[in-house]
Each structure stands twice: as structure tokens, then as C-alpha cells.
């Protein structure tokens, strides 16, 4: 579980996060949504410890990040897995080496043990024949799956994903969404996903945080988002005609 209490973050004169308070539940897919510039990426980077908030606190299973020493913070980060928007795979390494990297760096396992774990996680993300390929030789969807495999190889407690569907076709995007949800349940981890994708919101949004201008505007689940009267949320989520019709049908069905 991650508890966020009143965090503020500014860059020069720009006050990006203006007192966000929320809680991300363990074993659930928690989604952060909002328009571009609403502070989603800055919020995610604060959760990852890449940015330090000027005010407020972030607690990981009861440990306040700001009160930890730099060594303890690094140890805590080893319990986090991150899937970046552009996958952020290391260009000079093969797929297997990318996935093995965190284990090679932080564990004393033998080469064969690490190899077995790499085989297991690559199989888990449905990638069995790409071990010796370089990131530039595989598709965007495969890169995302490698990034997920690398993020879960150390059995993290927390999984963060920044726009995991960006640049993917709808079918692959659904596969990636389902994969993240399955892994969250399987490993009972706290997953936080930053997304613009409304399909993801409807499919896997067990808890949704809507940010607007650096504030938390709304919080709820994918079921509640249909019923909400919050104008900012409905304007954002139902900006397309298709979703407007879906919502209308849902309301009519209820009535």
C-alpha cells in the first residue's frame, strides 16, 4: 500500500502538484488519469523517488520515504518495478540481458538460477523466442512486454507504469492491460498506472484518481466513473462521441 499525504511539487514558478492526498491499494490496479499537463508524470516520478516533493509525505507500507537515509531509499527502490512510456530498455543489451540486469546487479544468484528466472518471466509475458534479440530488433508491443518482465523479475512490491499503452495498436494495448492486471493479482503488488487510455480506465481501473491542474479532482472505480456527476471527469472521460453514447446507454439501462 502507498499512502500519499498532501504532496506539493514546483518547478521554478510553476506549481505542478498542489496538495495531492490519496492511497493506492495493494493487489489492485490503481490508475492516474488527467489531461496533459495535469501533473500525472510529476506525481508518478514523486512516487518513484525521482522527484522530491517540497511538502507532504509518501509512505510505502508504513515507511515514510522522506525520512529514510539515501541507502534505505535505494533499498526501497529495489522493491519497485517501473515500466516507462518508451520502455527504456538498455540498447546495448539483449532482451535476456535487460531482464537479467536487476538480478545481476543486486543478487548473488548463480548464472543458471538467473537464467531460469529470466526464462520464467519472459514466458509469463508471452515472449519465448526473443532472448537474444536487441530492443531495436523487436516491436513496440514486445518492448513493453520486455519492460514488464524486467519490472517484475525481482518480485517487486510496487509496480509503476507510465502510459503502458502509448504507441500500441488497440489489440496489443488490451493484451498489455490484461497482463498488468494478471501480474498485479498474481504477485499481490500495488500497481500504479499513469494513462490516457479510456479503454484501460474501463477495463482495469479498480481505483482511479483524476488529476486536474495539480489537484485530485475525483477518486473512484471504473464502475463509479459511469455514475459520477463531476463535470471535469465526465468532460475528460466522455470526450469522444463513442464513450458519450456508451454512458447514455448505461444510464438508460439503469433507469
Amino acid at each position: 500500500m502507498i499512502e500519499v499525504d498532501n504532496i506539493h511539487k514546483s518547478f521554478g514558478d510553476s506549481h505542478v502538484l498542489k496538495g495531492v492526498t490519496t492511497c493506492f491499494d495493494q493487489g489492485k490496479t490503481n490508475l492516474i488519469i488527467g489531461q496533459s499537463g495535469s501533473g500525472k508524470t510529476v506525481f508518478l516520478k514523486c512516487l518513484l523517488g525521482l522527484f522530491t516533493p517540497e511538502e507532504g509525505s509518501i509512505c510505502y507500507s508504513g515507511q515514510k520515504y522522506g525520512e529514510l537515509t539515501s541507502d534505505q531509499q535505494r533499498d526501497l527502490r529495489q522493491e519497485m518495478g517501473m515500466v516507462f512510456q518508451g520502455s527504456a530498455l538498455f540498447d546495448s543489451m539483449t532482451v535476456a540481458e535487460n531482464v537479467m540486469f536487476p538480478m545481476d546487479m543486486f543478487t548473488k544468484q548463480s548464472k543458471s538460477e538467473m537464467q531460469d528466472r529470466v526464462d520464467f518471466v519472459l514466458k509469463r509475458v508471452n515472449l519465448t523466442d526473443a532472448h537474444y534479440k536487441f530492443p531495436s530488433e523487436i516491436s513496440g508491443g514486445m518492448q513493453k512486454r520486455v519492460a514488464i518482465a524486467r519490472a517484475i523479475v525481482m518480485r517487486p512490491k510496487y509496480l509503476f507504469c507510465d502510459e503502458p499503452n502509448s504507441g500500441l495498436d488497440p489489440k496489443t494495448a488490451i493484451l498489455i492491460d490484461n497482463l498488468i492486471k494478471e501480474i498485479t493479482e498474481e504477485y499481490n503488488i500495488t500497481t500504479v498506472i499513469n494513462t490516457h487510455d479510456m479503454n484501460s480506465v474501463m477495463e482495469i481501473g479498480e481505483k482511479i484518481i483524476f488529476l486536474k491542474n495539480g489537484h485530485k479532482e475525483w477518486e473512484g472505480s471504473n464502475k463509479e466513473i459511469f455514475k459520477t456527476d463531476n463535470q471535469a471527469v465526465t468532460d475528460f472521460v466522455y470526450s469522444s462521441e463513442l464513450f458519450k453514447k456508451v454512458r447514455q446507454m448505461y444510464i438508460e439501462e439503469r433507469n
Binding site: 526501497l76 527502490r77 516507462f84 527504456a88 538498455f90 540498447d91 536487476p102 545481476d104 543486486f106
Partner: protein, 245 residues
Amino acid sequence: MKYLAAIGKYFIMVWEVFKKPTKWSIMKSLILKEIDELIYGSMGIIIFIAFFIGGVVTIQTALNLTNPLIPKSLIGFATRQSVILEFAPTFTSIIMVGKVGSYITSSIGTMRVTEQIDALEVMGVNSLNYLVFPKIVAMMFYPFAVAIAMYVGILGGWVAAVFGEYAPSGEFIQGLQLDLIPFHITYAFIKTFVFAFAIATIPSFHGFYMKGGALEVGKASTTAFVWTSVVIIISNYVLTQLLLG
């Protein structure tokens, strides 16, 4: 003020490079890879430049020694002094800033743009140690390259003198052996170590802290080239004054 802040940030970066070291088994292979990339991969251009610069120094010296009372051995002497004191350490270093420095800035800068550095940080890796330390260690082998540049530069001078008929081989070699002060070689290597450290760290600084996209990677490489060259030129002057002045 902006420059002072950047200088302070650079020294903090250097301090961070030596903190929380990466596992030795991984670091060892990174160092070997960087030696191959930065030093071994630069040997061709270093040898090529040193040979022809040595030849040019010899020709210029010979053409300016028009007085028949000045012995031809002086051509060898002047070539040796010029190559050892300046051309091999300083000129080669400026070339290395262009070749190795821009490679360092663009490779680290691209990692920044594509969030690979963020990925390292999230994993709990000291990204500065992982990326910059192997480059610093590899560049500590740079004096070997400069030693080869000294040898090849003098060889280039000898070839130009003998085959261009500016001085007979015997007299040129006699000049090479004339009044050699061993400390001059020590001085050349001391400044080579300083240049090597600058070539490894200043381009790394510009790559690591760059912001933006692909265009900014190119701009950062140019800025790194300019500032590393400036630091080399100034430290060359200061070290010469301190050690020989």
C-alpha cells in the same frame, strides 16, 4: 552566477561518481568495454595525426633554420621537444575531445532522453557510478596512447627529415638524444592524466544533466566539446606554469 552553479554541480557529480560502487563483476566488464571503445578505438586516429604532425614540425623547423652555423641536429631536438611537451599530450587531447568527448555526451544524453538513466535510478543503481566511473578508469589508460603518439610523432619527424632531405638520419637522431630532461616526460604525463580526467567527466556532465530531445543531445555534444577544450587549454597553461615555470 549560472557558470558558478554549473561548476558546483560538476564537482558534486564527480563526488557522486565515487559513491555506492557498482558490483565489481559488472564494473570489470564495463571498464574493459570502455577501454576498447575510448582508447583502443582511438588509436588509429591518434597514430595518424601524431605521424603527420611530427613530420610537419620537422619541416617547419628545418625551413626556419636558415643559418648555416646552426647544426642540423637541432631539427631533431626541436621535433622531440615540441612533440613530447605539446603536440602529443595537448594536440592529441583536443582531437580526443572531439572523438571521445562527443561520443560520451551523445551516448549518456541519449540514455537520458530515452529514460534509461531514470530506469537505472528506479532500480536503485547509482547511475553516475555505473555510467561515468568506467569511463574515468578507461581514460586513465590514455597516457599509454599519448606515449605511442610521442613515439610515432618523432618517427614521423625522422621520416620527414630523412626522406625530405632536411637532415641526415645520424644528425637527427643525435638531436633527439641531446639534453633530454627526464622531468619533461613526467610533466607531459602529469598533464595527460589531468586532460584524461577532463575528457571523461566534462562530456559526461553535459550528457547526464541534459534536458530535451534529440536536438538537445547534439547541442550538448557541441557544448561539451567547447568546455572540455577550454578546460584543457587553461589547465595546460596552469600546469606548465606550475611545473616548468
